[in-house]
Symmetry: C2
Subunit: 126 residues, 2 copies
């Protein structure tokens, strides 16, 4: 399996996501998702568009009492203005001592020079 090293600009996008999930400042998701991005959440209908995605995360993080998020990139393939990333997210919550482990696949695109998540889908092993 060939894995491309993640560019600093893409790492910054992922760190922004971690911060938003930890702190709830969903406005900053404009630096993560493309304006016409879509998410395919488990147990919920797909959501398209930045505003809907911001609302989704605002609602989703509260009942879980999320206190932190760490994305770990396991594989990244980049071709021109497109990339995909396979990874795991560790979510820490104040409701449980064990982190929630999430598997994800993100399709990235570079639009107007900025790398953004275009499609984001995830699930859990349990």
């Amino acid at each position: 399996m060939s894995t491309t090293t993640m560019a600093p600009e893409m790492r910054e996008v992922n760190r922004t996501f971690d911060e938003v999930v930890a702190a709830g400042n969903v406005a900053a998701l404009e630096r993560v998702y493309a304006r016409d991005a879509q998410i395919l959440p488990p147990g919920a209908e797909p959501v398209r568009g930045l505003e809907g995605i911001q609302n989704f995360w605002k609602s989703a993080r509260k009942p879980l009492k999320v206190t932190g998020c760490t994305l770990r990139t396991l594989e990244l393939q980049v071709r021109g203005d497109m990339a995909y990333e396979v990874g795991r997210a560790d979510l820490t919550t104040s409701a449980s001592s064990a982190p929630i482990v999430v598997e994800y696949l993100v399709a990235w695109r570079r639009v107007d020079g900025a790398w953004r998540w275009h499609v984001d889908i995830w699930n859990t092993s349990s």
Copy 2:
């Protein structure tokens, strides 16, 4: 959203998947998944490698009593030897009159001239 028309060769891959899920002939998944592909199933650990994926589908389709599968491509983006596809699968089962609807994201790669699924992740809305 720009959507690239799916090449006949890629459509054939998806039709093969439909047939395998309907009929259980998992050997034919070698014409769907790359040898080093990985799947990220909901409710189960990730599986890497064609043989493991074949075993996964052999086991997974039985308890659901699946009788048919129809993949519907909603978005396809192709760049060189890489592509991603967003879609929905309708699974018909003899256990229920309503189809099970699955959302998926597949990262495709063309290896040795043949388009194959490299990463496959899915979940359900309910």
